[in-house]
Amino acid sequence: MHLVYPTVLAALLFAIGVYGVLARRNAVLVLMSIEIMLNAVNINLIAFNAWLQDTLLAGQIFGLFVIAVAAAEVGVGLAIVLLIYRTNETVDIDSLTELGDAQGAQRDAQLAQRGVDRSAAGAGAEAQVR
């Protein structure tokens, strides 16, 4: 068969997986989307292995390893998700923004306002002195 079919399939699956990773709110669903992506990659590997008719079957072996790694990754990933669940009572990614700087932005805004006031006061004092 034309190589185009497996590779395009892989591309589409990959894109769908990307969408899932970026858009889904539940952490477990994100993990599922990652699985889809890995499967897309695997299809590519197998397809090229078949096209190249590799005697060493490198593509397939590599695909095997990908599966193994994916399994391991899901295991560890779920452990982490469980930990998050334990701490936050939720696995909603959108609420996991502690590493973010939103408060920092607010703090900066406050500081900036205070600084403006201070410099305005300083200019006023200067004008008075003069």
């Binding site: 970026l22 590493l99 973010g100 932005a105 900066d108």
Partner: protein, 684 residues
Amino acid sequence: MIETSLSTVLAAEEVSTPFQLAGTTWPDFAWLIPVFPFVAFFVILFFGKRMRTSGTVVGIVAIAASLVVSLGVFSQAYLHPGFVEEKKVILTPFGDGRLTLGMKVDGLAALMFVIVCLVSLLVQVYSTSYMDGDSRYTFFFAMLSLFTTGMLIVTIADNLMLMLVGWEIMGVCSYFLIGHFWEETPNSNAAIKAFLTTRVGDVGFMIGIFILFWGAQSFEFSTIIERAESGEMPRNLVVAGTVAIFFGAVGKSAQFPLHTWLPDAMAGPTPVSALIHAATMVASGIYMVARLYPVFELSGPALNLIGVLAAITMTMAALIALVQDDIKKVLAYSTVSQLAYMTAGLAVGGYTAGFFHLLTHAAFKGLLFLGAGSVIHAVHSNNMSEMGGLRRYLPRTHATYLVGCIALAGIPPLAGFWSKDEVILDAYWAAGFGHPHEDVATSPIVGKMVFASAVVTAVLTAFYVTRMYCLTWLGTYRGKGTPHESSAAMTVPLMVLTVPAAVLGFWGSPLWPDAHNIKRVVAFAGQPYHAPELLPIVAGTSVALAVLGVVVGFAIYGKGLPRRDPTLHMGLVTKTLQRKFFLDDLYLHAIVRPTRSTIAAGSYWLNQHVFDAPPNLAGKGAVLAGRAAYAVDRNVIDGTVNGSGRTASFTGRALALVQNGNVQAYATGMFVGVLALAVAFAAR
């Protein structure tokens, strides 16, 4: 660049003069004469207050030293008539001219030295008693020394610029000395009037200097005389220069129309009047003309102008003196009149006559001023109406004063007669009468004018002198208290001056040995010599007129002040004379008031808005620039700095929004980046 060049011209054979060092002559040291009082000025000014004698001894010793040197120089001049010694130090060359510090010592200068030093010495001794107790005693003496220095610089100078320096020093010192009692406004006004009036003359003087420089390309007397005589100097420059330069003499020597300052200058202390107005400053104008006389001789218009002004001044001043009550004012107007005699002498070609009269006038007028000072000191009043019968109270002063009066009136054989007679004789010849020895450039009309006024003035002089004498010394005392004779410090100078007042006239008379006659001593190089003459008709007339004046005077005032002083009851004539021919009023309304109001205001406006405009604008510009700089500093520079800070924090805040903690957002960003890279690589 200083070079010294030495040119010595000695006429006649080398006859040793008294007390000279081997290899040198007295004139070699003539430059010391102005130096001594100049040093004394600084010493008195800085240290006088701390000295026991308040600096007077310093001044007197200095002038005495100058007198000694002057006498030495004079001995050289007397024994070697016609000698000239010149020395100079070049200060700066510029263009065709050079500024030099030089001395020209000849008979004229030598004589002047003696007069100035002697009178200055006597005045300083006199002042130790007269000014005793004054609050500015030390400063007075410092100014006396500086004034003497100025006059000596004028005397010794060999070029017009140096003479101008001495001229101006005298001007300034006369301001200080006349205004000595400046606490009262009339006195300071008198000082300002004296200074400004002579200043007006000085403008002409300076113009004259520059014209002569333009013509002769040099400031030096010798060079100017030489170039004028040889014809190198264009004739119109000669005339213009002499006329202009004479205005300096008009100012300083109080000729019409700049004579008004001299009577008012009597506001100063009497020793000052004696020094300045009898002997020195007023003589400086005459001296200056005498120095340049060969140039004046070539300039007929200048001589005519001098003659006319002299004639007017002579008679006018003598008339005004008739109605004065203040004894010093009488002497002041008398001085103006006698100065006119001197200038008249110069105008009619009587160079020696004019200078001779200067000499005798210095003696007897100085004597009269100092005597008047003694009287004022005793009576505590200047007015003759409060004097009278003082010969009983001040015998020594009376004796000396009488000698002075006789000399002034021109009665032979005292000094005044001989010198006045020579002037009249020269005027007689210039007028076209008799047989003159040589032609003069003066026109006969002017000569006649001078002659006429000289004769008339002789009568008037005798009259007012007699009036003054009688009102002061004869009759009964009209004042308060008991006057007493003055101290020795005051009477001794009087007695010293009596001697020249009495006998000095003989030096210029036919009775003196011809070889050392004043005419020979004072003559300038190339002047033809004619022995002094006594023309009976002229001399007899002048004596007769003088005696007439004296007799009339005695007739009216012989017993002191009459109930009706005739001079004060001549109606309009008296009024005119008392108002000094309305000249002061004319000057006040025509010159002083417009200057003070309009011109002063105009000058003030000009100064504030035009001359001060550049500095004011510069100042305002500087202020604006300062403000602009501040604005730039605050808004641009600080703005940039602040702006960069604000930009950084704004950028930070903007970027911080990216870090929202949402992992998926980060992942999105990553994927976008990867996609971009992939497209980029693929497109290549």
